[in-house]
């Protein structure tokens, strides 16, 4: 059985200035995501017409959806936060999905990426609070409601970006680790099955016979269904690779790794990436809107 290697992002090379800037897999993936998003932005925003074509209609609908989401969650006075929230959401979504290509590593599978975004949101919240109510009242807010609560208030203020970053990173990176372990388990299982079926000619013939029976023999008068056909294909592949192993050509081909991890990837990459990007953006919206309350209505004196 092969050894699995679960590590962080690999370092490609190191630029020897400022004490060494490391170019890792995450940096390369982030650059690819940035180039893709900027190209899409430039191409979709060019040649806007009063009678829009197809792409412009779709783009306008998308922008309208996100603007209405921001206005619903944060209030109409906070409409100017839409570009920040959109950038956060799209980088997070594309960064998680780009790990599905197989050659690039997801940007959000690295704690640096998510911690950066969480720190950005927190700094924005603190800056807006200080700008709206002043430095003194903001600092005094940590001693409310009683002075003894101050350390707990400070800890809970720091726990906000930590939990934001860790939730996103943990979901994406944990999904990657579980997928690697599934691949390892499937390669071990296929090696064991190949050893069982490829022990002698009898094993290969029996497996091929079982495959043929599953494929062709109708049960209760009906033709064999999809599940039996799938099992038949699996057994035929097992027989073929067992034959190759006996003749000494290809050894220990992990044939079980085709197809089963794809079903898992539907949950771990697509669904989890989408939900986590959405939750990150929504929580950022809620934190920022807490720091930017609605402006008071200025009443005109009526005299």
């Amino acid at each position: 059985m092969t050894e699995i290697n679960i590590t962080g992002p690999g370092i490609y090379f190191e630029i020897p200035i400022f004490g060494g800037i490391r170019i890792t897999q995450t940096v390369v993936s982030s650059l690819v995501v940035m180039v893709l998003l900027c190209t899409a932005g430039v191409l979709l925003g060019r040649n806007l017409k009063k009678r829009p074509g197809r792409m412009q209609v779709v783009t306008e609908k998308g922008v309208g959806m996100i603007t209405s989401l921001v206005c619903d969650a944060m209030g109409a006075h906070n409409r100017h936060w839409t570009p920040y929230i959109t950038a956060l959401f799209l980088s997070s979504l594309l960064g998680s999905l780009i790990g599905m290509t197989g050659i690039l590593r997801s940007t959000t599978a690295d704690l640096s990426t998510t911690a950066t975004w969480a720190v950005m949101t927190s700094v924005i919240c603190w800056y807006q609070s200080i700008k709206n109510i002043g430095l003194g009242p903001w600092l005094k807010g940590y001693t409310e409601p009683i002075k003894v609560m101050t350390p707990m208030n400070i800890v809970s203020e720091f726990a906000q970006p930590v939990s934001l970053a860790f939730r996103h990173f943990g979901n994406v990176a944990g999904g990657g680790v579980i997928t690697t372990m599934v691949y390892w388990a499937l390669s071990g299982a296929s090696a064991a099955l190949l050893r069982l079926a490829g022990a002698s000619w009898i094993g290969v013939v029996v497996t091929l016979g079982l495959a043929a029976v599953l494929f062709l023999v109708p049960r209760k008068g009906k033709k064999p269904g999809a599940f039996r056909k799938l099992l038949g294909i699996l057994l035929a592949a097992l027989a073929f690779f067992a034959l190759l192993q006996m003749l000494g050509m290809l050894e220990n081909v992990p044939f079980l790794q085709v197809g089963i991890p794809a079903v898992l990837s539907l949950y771990f990459d697509c669904f989890s990436g989408l939900i986590q990007a959405f939750v990150f953006s929504l929580l950022s919206m809620i934190y920022i809107s807490n720091a930017c309350p609605a402006p008071e209505e200025k009443t005109e004196p009526n005299s």
Binding site: R167, F169, G170, N171, G174, I275, Q276, F278, V279
Partner: protein
């Protein structure tokens, strides 16, 4: 030395197992509660299904946080400590 390395490895394995095992109880119960209440609401008022579904997914995403903390600690114990 052999014995100290063996004790460290054994402690890491035990810690990882306990961490993930106990840490998986809480989020599962919490998310089950959330989904149950959402389903009750959907059964009572089917036209609010979309709204309820969206809010339920967001709530499940936030409630899963502590389970993910346990997963990260368990992975750290298993694969990073020599």
């Amino acid at each position: 030395m052999e014995l100290t390395e063996a004790i460290v490895k054994a402690a890491c394995a035990l810690g990882a197992g306990l961490c993930m095992g106990i840490g998986a109880i809480g989020p599962a119960i919490g998310e089950g509660n959330a989904v149950g209440k959402a389903l009750e609401g959907m059964a009572r008022q089917p036209e609010s299904t979309n709204n309820l579904r969206l809010n339920m997914l967001i709530g499940c995403g936030v409630a899963e946080t502590t389970g993910i903390y346990s997963l990260v600690i368990a992975i750290l114990l298993l694969f990073v400590f020599k």
